[in-house]
Symmetry: C2
């Protein structure tokens, strides 16, 4: 049925060009046929997005923006895919620790590795940021960039989320996939600007989001080039080069893109500076916060959450009139089929 | 006349489809009509470029490469535009020192500034790298990214080269503009990967080379984001963040692009590692060195030049069979009209 109705309506449209031209109301009645955001419920937020895109792509509008300036940046964790109960990249690190344990007998008595191997996540993360850095370095450095790419690709193809049982790349948000596609169809260039690891995302962002590796901005380790007996390699060093979070996001945008976005989407306080930076664009800009309100289909969290905290950002969004999408209310579908 | 002959030939082609199909020699005689590289003389190097592009874009070839993997990276100084007798970015720094001098009376007695203000370039650069860093920091940091963009744009629009008297952006190489366009017409994504300043290049690369800011990789300063009373800004700090030269080029490519190029062009030893990295691609790849052999139309220099030295790179190119374009021999035109 889904296909029959639009097709029928299109035939009606094609046979009624005269009356359409004479009555613009008829045209707008027919419009929902080509709904670019079918997983978004009708309402103020969906309307705001569509109205914005129509305005800046309308050559007759005073707010028209040329395609070369249509830069859209999106956070990843909690904005394009889930992030609960832990960032998926941490699940990757934990899975790798388990896999690499036979080569590291010393981990049996060394924290945070010992807790990971005992399945005690709270214990593993008890050391806070320092523990996380240790887990990341042990699993993300000490190999070439090509080797890391293969490791991540294999994990993404096979690993499953401990709560949902789904593959991680199936835990992306269908409404956001539609939004990315809708923006690109209107000559926006879509980028990821995430606190997550740049080289952890790149192996799968093109197939999952349609975003190629050169349009991914993220946190990264120091790299070194080396000509070996077996050819050229890039080594991943155990030292953080850049944290693409909070005030790092506008910096990451300037470094990688060199243009101020006109559209930015995020879900946490870590995205606030990116939204502020976008809001300072001389062109008409759009700021979108995803508010995780859906405890049935996903997880409800905001001001008090250790992961993806939305507190200052929420207040500033309300104050500045940014769009706050309510997952429970605005999305009729959360996950891709 | 330029237009009349091809048009006439096309008419002949259209009226002779039978004989063309019967005689493939006739088709190849007609081919130069659509010469994608008219400023390149016929010869082995031009043929190698065209043959490479035809091969990797031919779906029936065993060496076919999908568009998403068609990444081409080019050095800027000496490869896309001139670099003699000094990198143009140093002329920019010198022009800025002169312009800023009234605000800095202390420069009258402080090197390297005093020498710049006395028009003594050799004196200004006598301190080597340290002097250059001082000149760069005094002129490239201490302002916002938006202010720096305006400063560079104004300079590019108005400044002229001290020897040629031309605007700097008129000192780009016509054959390379054609090559960039030819690659893009064949679904390559073209990037600049330069030792020059990333934010010095971005204000003009789109209009001059057709390369948008997000496809420019270069050296850069540390940046910081700040929310001020007048809104969000990014400040340019007086500290080098990254040098995109020599072994830094493959690292810059990995950071910004995340894919190994299949085509790379350079002109100096500073590009050698980028060419090696490209040469290690599992796909069929192409390495191009521009050899500055033309003392009449440009400047002839290679192994002994302090700027754009081509020595180790030349030897390795010969050893590995990379393409070495000879400016005097291969280019019938150097500058755009």
């Amino acid at each position: 049925m889904k296909y029959i109705i639009p097709l029928f309506a299109l035939v009606v449209m094609a046979c009624n060009t005269t009356s359409q031209n004479a009555d613009s109301n008829l045209t707008s009645t027919v419009e929902p046929i080509t709904d670019p955001l079918p997983s978004w419920n009708e309402g103020a937020n969906k309307e705001a997005i569509i109205q914005y895109v129509k305005t800046v792509t309308d050559k007759n509008s005073k707010d028209y923006i040329a395609p070369s300036d249509r830069t859209a940046t999106f956070d990843n964790d909690g904005t394009l895919w889930s992030e609960q109960p832990l960032y998926f990249q941490l699940f990757f690190a934990i899975d790798r620790i388990t896999e690499l344990a036979p080569e590291h007998p010393e981990w049996e008595s060394e924290e945070p590795f010992a807790s990971v191997l005992n399945g005690d996540l709270n214990g593993a993360l008890a050391g806070g940021e320092e523990s996380i850095v240790q887990l990341v370095m042990a699993t993300h450095s000490g190999m070439t960039s090509a080797q890391f790419n293969t490791i991540v690709s294999t994990w993404v193809d096979t690993a499953t989320h401990p709560v949902s049982g789904k593959k991680y790349t199936n835990m992306v948000y269908q409404p956001m996939l539609e939004l990315l596609e809708y923006l690109r169809a209107n000559d926006f260039k879509t980028f990821i600007v995430s606190g997550g690891g740049i080289d952890f995302m790149r192996p799968w962002t093109e197939s999952v989001y349609g975003i190629p590796s050169e349009q991914v901005v993220g946190s990264g380790l120091e790299l070194s080039y080396q000509m070996t007996e077996n050819g050229s390699v890039i080594n991943r060093l155990p030292k953080i080069d850049f944290i693409d979070d909070k005030a790092g996001k506008p910096v990451g945008i300037q470094r990688h893109i060199g243009k101020k976005p006109i559209f930015a989407g995020g879900n946490s306080d870590g995205d606030l500076q990116m939204l502020q930076w976008t809001d300072s664009n001389e062109h008409l800009s759009f700021q979108l916060y995803i508010h995780h309100t859906d405890s049935v289909r996903e997880t409800a969290y905001d001001r008090e959450s250790p992961i993806g905290k939305l507190d200052k950002g929420w207040d500033e969004a309300v104050e500045k009139g940014w769009t706050i999408a309510d997952m429970a209310e605005d999305w009729n579908t959360v996950w891709p089929e």
